[in-house]
């Protein structure tokens, strides 16, 4: 009879810190190359802001894949929908947007964000029911169908809003930048970093501190076992799909404001970036996705400053480098 020490702590998995150090190492490495402190600060902040927005768009995609083995090639469509929700939502709130007070701006911005998340969440539900559900487990059809979904949603947006670029001016108080020593910090980028951090922390909290998160993580590792324990993984999955779509919508709204224009083509553009990010991070890993986003955005900003021509392929070069080092991404979560 073996004695089981029930009081002993469960064996802890070793946390892998090397990927976490990568963005820091990259930032430090770029410092002597960039030279001036103020430029470096501006670039780093720009990179962080961009990374946070990309993370918001990509996190849902990687979770959905991890949980249900579904790669949604139509994810970019939700990004575009989020951008157009911004156009529609800001139209009647002109006074609030033009007001120089930050509080008034946020009163316009926050409802718009919530609206974008609700609209894309519902769109995600419909998308899942109509397109993804019938082709579970059939990768080839999944890719084709979700790609078809992207085309159809993009065209619907064009048909509804017209093919032109829709200008999307920033709220008055978020324009311009705050001088910090010699460096200029754009206000909107600060906001983007804050929103991105909130999203990341909320996701991390849900995933690691709640029962729901426990189920999701267990589902990523072994869905059948979770089902065998009596949980309806289908329902879990629809929830994650909707949340992922909602985050994509939020990211799309933020990104459209950042670019100060909305156009249906941003869905396709961002799709490539989000794919690279989740490949870098390891398919299914939210933490990896976060690090991947920041790494990619920082590199893009530094490279854009140091060697604009190289910046064109910095994303792909980063992906290749990471995959050569860890063929399944920074944090290989799933065995797939």
């Amino acid at each position: 009879m073996s004695a089981i020490d029930t009081g002993a702590a469960l064996p802890q998995q070793k946390t892998d810190y090397i990927p976490v150090l990568l963005p820091i190492a990259l930032a430090l490495l770029a410092f002597p190359l960039v030279g001036s402190f103020s430029t470096w600060t501006t670039l780093t902040l720009a990179g962080l802001a961009m990374g946070m927005m990309i993370f918001a768009m990509a996190s849902g995609l990687t979770l959905v894949f991890g949980l249900m083995d579904v790669m949604n090639f139509g994810h970019g469509a939700f990004v575009a929908v989020g951008a157009y929700v911004a156009v529609v939502a800001f139209a009647p709130m002109g006074a609030l947007m033009q007001s120089p007070s930050l509080a008034a701006n946020l009163m316009a911005l926050i409802p718009a964000m919530l609206l974008a998340m609700i609209v894309t969440g519902v769109a995600g539900y419909v998308f899942e029911r109509l397109l993804v559900r019938p082709v579970y487990g059939q990768h080839l059809k999944q890719i084709l169908i979700t790609m078809g979904g992207l085309i159809v949603i993009e065209q619907l947006l064009y048909a509804t809003f017209g093919p032109q670029l829709n200008p999307l001016p920033l709220p008055a108080a978020l324009r311009g930048s705050i001088p910090l020593g010699a460096a200029a910090i754009e206000k909107y980028r600060l906001l983007a970093v804050v929103v991105g951090l909130i999203v990341f922390l909320a996701l991390q909290f849900t995933l690691t501190r709640t029962k729901l998160g426990l189920l999701i993580r267990a589902g990523v590792e072994n869905g059948e076992m979770v089902e065998a324990l009596g949980y309806r993984i289908r329902r879990l999955f629809i929830g994650v799909f909707m949340a992922g779509s909602a985050l994509a919508g939020l990211g799309g709204l933020m990104w459209a404001l950042y670019r100060e224009q909305a156009h249906a083509s941003i869905g396709g553009e961002m799709m490539v970036t989000t794919f690279i990010v989740i490949i870098i991070g390891g398919l299914g890993s939210v933490g990896g996705c976060f690090i991947g986003s920041i790494l990619l955005a920082l590199l893009a900003n530094y490279a854009g400053f140091l060697a604009p021509k190289v910046a064109l392929i910095s994303n792909i070069a980063l992906m290749v480098a990471v995959l050569l080092w860890r063929p399944r991404g920074l944090y290989p979560v799933t065995s797939r």
């Binding site: 064009y158 048909a159 064109l312």
Partner: protein, 353 residues
Amino acid sequence: MILSGNPPRGKLLTALLILVVVVLALAPFLFPGSKPANVAAKICVFALLVASYDLLLGYAGIVSFAHTMFFGIGAYGIAITLYALGPSWGAMALGLGAAVVVAAVFALAIGLFSLRVQTIFFAMVTLAVASAFAVLASQLSWLTGGEDGRTFRVPEVLRPGFRLIENGPFGITISGRTLSYYLVFCSVVVLFLVMLRIVESPFGRVLQAIRENPFRAEALGYRIIYHRTLANVLAAVFAACAGALNALWLRYTGPDTSLSFNIMIDILLIVVIGGMGTLYGAIIGAALFVLAENYLQTLMGAAFGALNASGAGFVANFFNPDRWLLWLGILFILSVYFFPTGIVGKLRAEPKS
């Protein structure tokens, strides 16, 4: 024999195929003028391009989004050499050869890099690589001409001004343009027959076995990675040939005509609607698609005008000719659901056991 023991099967399908091929073969005489010639040439090029994609998607079960990249490599290969070295057959051969080699090397690299893992990963990696390539091609303007692309001169014999026969019997005139068309047409026919041969070869059979059940194929002793990579390389080489032919016909290569993601979407639509895993689907699909693209849009334009006039402004937007991809997208989704083997699969008689 010429069809490599893989006849179309099914009377209606055979009749349709014969009709398409005969009309294409006689196109310059049946429909004089430059628009029909462009349409016919585009059908030929797309039939080849889509068939090469079908080799991957339909036979090997691999989804690649980098097919336009190989198409573009072929087109730019011809454009760059003819632009730099002047219009000679030697330059053309050099361009084609270089393009084929570059395409094969790229396909090999991507294949070895990412075909070990599953379909989804490969699809994502190819999408990323292809978009990076498109950006590069539009930015390296010293080499590719950037967004403007390269307009180049083709050898004397293929130019519109050249006359092989002027007012011959029945009043036929065979110009350099006609010769260009036949160069495209004949190359496509030959390459298509080669592909038919490939899919019916032992290699093609193994590909299909891997598509159906990779574990079993591996257990039988076939190296999956080898077969998939080779399929990827072959598809890339055929796509590069299609790109080269397209460039020769247009006498121009630019990002929009060779690398744009829209072409990738067109390929996907054609291969699915025409019929995956049949090769013949590429011919039927390309013919239907290109005809629809050129003539159905006129019809949609009429509907758009009528609806606009009747005051249904919002609904009319959905019939705007620019929105025809919307309807094709819906058709695409429906055909993936209900007719995964496409038109050809529906028309094809079940093989007798």
